[in-house]
């Protein structure tokens, strides 16, 4: 791929890969079990901040700081969000949203010497040099995550998560502890979020509370998963590439805020038109061409 496209396009693809990882992370929890998380930037932020602080302030090399960051994300997220799993529906979304806002406030106030306060942390060690290497790393990560999740979702565990999204009581009625299942889903989601967040921090080299714990960021993640197609692996990737490329293609034509206006409008219309996402649209197009009825769950 690097041979065929411009370097600028590669950069866009890198962004899309990371967004795809975040969207897949969101989807494992929210797209499958139906527990909508409005706090995913919270998890991603923990991962990003952990590795940034460890490598920048304590000199831990990235090969240790990234795994540590992932563990911290899983642990921190678990401690905080486990009680939230008792709550259903909109309330779950709100608790997670509150956590994100809380984190936004706390990062700036608590130990600004470590977190860099509002200004954030800059000069985080880069793992790669140049667009090609960055692209290879990002694509490898994305495909690795996608493959891992795909394998996991093919297991009975994946089926059970789906089932929770359809009827949690019936899953319990089948003798399964849904709390344990949800916790596991959450851990997997946190793992992917922590991983994505940590690598992303090393890729951008900078992070700031306003860029991470932010409703716009949350919006991008959720919209990527949803307009791509929730509950699938390919959907969030599809959605992430669609959104990021839409934004970049709009940049030369509409350089300013108009871009977000158009972009948000497109997202809203797409979502309203087909809540199952682009994957479903592509599917129905293909079905129409082929004229058959193919079971399409990926």
């Amino acid at each position: 791929m690097p041979e065929f496209v411009e370097r600028g396009t590669l950069r866009t693809m890198i962004q899309a890969c990371y967004l795809a990882i975040f969207a897949m992370s969101w989807d494992v929890l929210s797209g499958r079990t139906g527990y909508i998380s409005f706090g995913h930037p919270f998890l991603i932020g923990i991962g990003a901040y952990s590795t940034a602080i460890l490598s920048k302030k304590f000199g831990v090399p990235p090969e240790y700081s990234i795994p540590l960051a992932i563990v911290i994300t899983m642990f921190g997220g678990l401690v905080v969000l486990l009680p939230a799993l008792r709550i259903k529906g909109s309330y779950f979304a709100l608790v997670t949203l509150a956590f994100m806002e809380l984190m936004y406030q706390l990062v700036q106030v608590i130990r600004p010497d470590l977190t860099g306060g509002t200004r954030g942390i800059t000069g985080i060690k880069s793992l790669t040099r140049g667009a090609e290497a960055g692209y290879e790393l990002a694509v490898t990560l994305m495909l690795g995550v996608a493959l891992g999740l795909w394998l996991l979702m093919r297991t009975r565990f994946g089926t059970a998560l789906w089932a929770i999204g359809m009827d949690e009581d019936s899953v319990r009625g089948s003798g399964l502890s849904t709390t344990r299942l949800k916790t596991m889903a959450f851990l997997v989601s946190a793992l992917v979020a922590g991983l994505g967040g940590a690598y992303y921090a090393h890729y951008t080299g900078s992070l700031a509370p306003r860029a991470l714990f932010d409703i716009d960021f949350l919006f991008t993640i959720i919209v990527a998963a949803l307009i791509g197609g929730a509950g699938t692996i390919i959907g969030p990737m599809f959605g992430a590439f669609f959104l990021i490329f839409l934004l970049e293609w709009l940049r030369p034509i509409l350089p300013g805020a108009e871009r977000y206006f158009v972009y948000g409008g497109v997202a809203l219309i797409l979502y309203m038109y087909q809540p199952k996402g682009l994957v479903a649209i592509a599917q129905s197009l293909r079905d129409r061409v082929r004229g058959d009825n193919y079971d399409h769950r990926a």
Partner: protein, 283 residues
């Protein structure tokens, strides 16, 4: 102490007004309207445009803001809520997207920079060492008037009672001759109007800027979650808890202002999901 009391009362009145419209939709439409903050955004900017940029009288500004809010509410119900047919997750997410789109729209029309509204009623008086502007005093008094009016409307009029009825039992309401759909539409309109009005006051108290919809949304969420669904009294009480807490924390450690509100939301949701004053869901 007196200062905290006075300032707490004033801020809380404003918060109660802001939260009221959100509560209506949450308890009657059973919908989490994440674009609620956008009513405040649009209300504030419409008022700014009419009064401060066009130089029209204040009453025109208020009328324009409230009309814009009501229209937005009605359109949102028709175009999003009805289209998505009660799918709560889809509505929440669509409203979130809508709020972000509206924010981009405001940036497009008015730019990024903050704007301050002229005081609606200029002047200031010092009470017990606390400065009280006539502006915020007016805002608080009007808040109270609107809240009382809303309370009377809901408890005394046919439409108001029908709104309560729909929130408690939609089927029961339908077979009493109430069209839940129409009541929902009216509720969305009122909510939009209240939000826009709250937006004018909120902006005249603070500032106008494209991201201003987030803070009031979070406050509304806090108030309604902690107060519990469907309780005007709960909304009022909790608006005061949040307001006093903010003022109290501000005078103790101002940089922690928002932290406690978030902790309150989380704690209440985890420990008592129906809210401090709410009832257990009947269904």
């Amino acid at each position: 102490m007196t200062q905290i009391l006075i300032q707490g009362m004033l801020l809380s009145g404003l918060y109660a007004l802001i939260a009221m419209g959100f509560m209506l939709i949450f308890s009657i439409g059973r919908t989490l309207n994440l674009a609620y903050g956008a009513y405040l955004l649009v209300g504030g900017y419409v008022y700014f445009w009419l009064c401060q940029q066009m130089g029209l009288p204040q009453i025109v500004g208020f009328a324009g803001a409230v009309t814009a809010g009501v229209l937005m509410g009605l359109l949102k119900h028709r175009l999003i809520v009805k289209t998505l047919n009660g799918d709560h997750v889809a509505i929440e997410i669509s409203t979130l997207i809508l709020a972000v789109v509206l924010q981009a729209g405001v940036v497009l029309l008015f730019g990024d920079s903050s704007k301050i509204l002229l005081p609606i009623v200029p002047g200031v008086v010092t009470v017990a060492g606390a400065q009280v502007t006539f502006n915020i005093l007016t805002a608080t008094l009007i808040s109270w008037a609107v809240i009382i009016g809303l309370y009377l409307y809901i408890s005394r009029t046919h439409t108001g009672r029908a709104m309560q009825a729909v929130s408690m039992d939609a089927k029961g309401a339908a077979l009493s001759g109430v069209d839940p759909d129409r009541i929902n539409l009216i509720t969305w309109g009122i909510s939009g109007g209240l939000g826009a009005l709250g937006g004018v006051f909120f902006a005249s108290y603070t500032q106008l800027y494209p991201g201003m919809w987030v803070a009031p949304l979070i406050i509304s969420v806090a108030v309604v979650i902690v107060g519990g669904i469907g309780s005007i009294l709960g909304t009022l009480v909790v608006a005061h808890i949040v307001g006093f807490m903010e003022v109290g924390v501000s005078s103790w450690s101002p940089e922690l202002r928002g932290v406690f509100t978030m902790i309150l939301i989380v704690a209440v949701l985890v420990l008592r999901p129906q809210g401090l004053f709410g009832r257990e869901e009947t269904h």
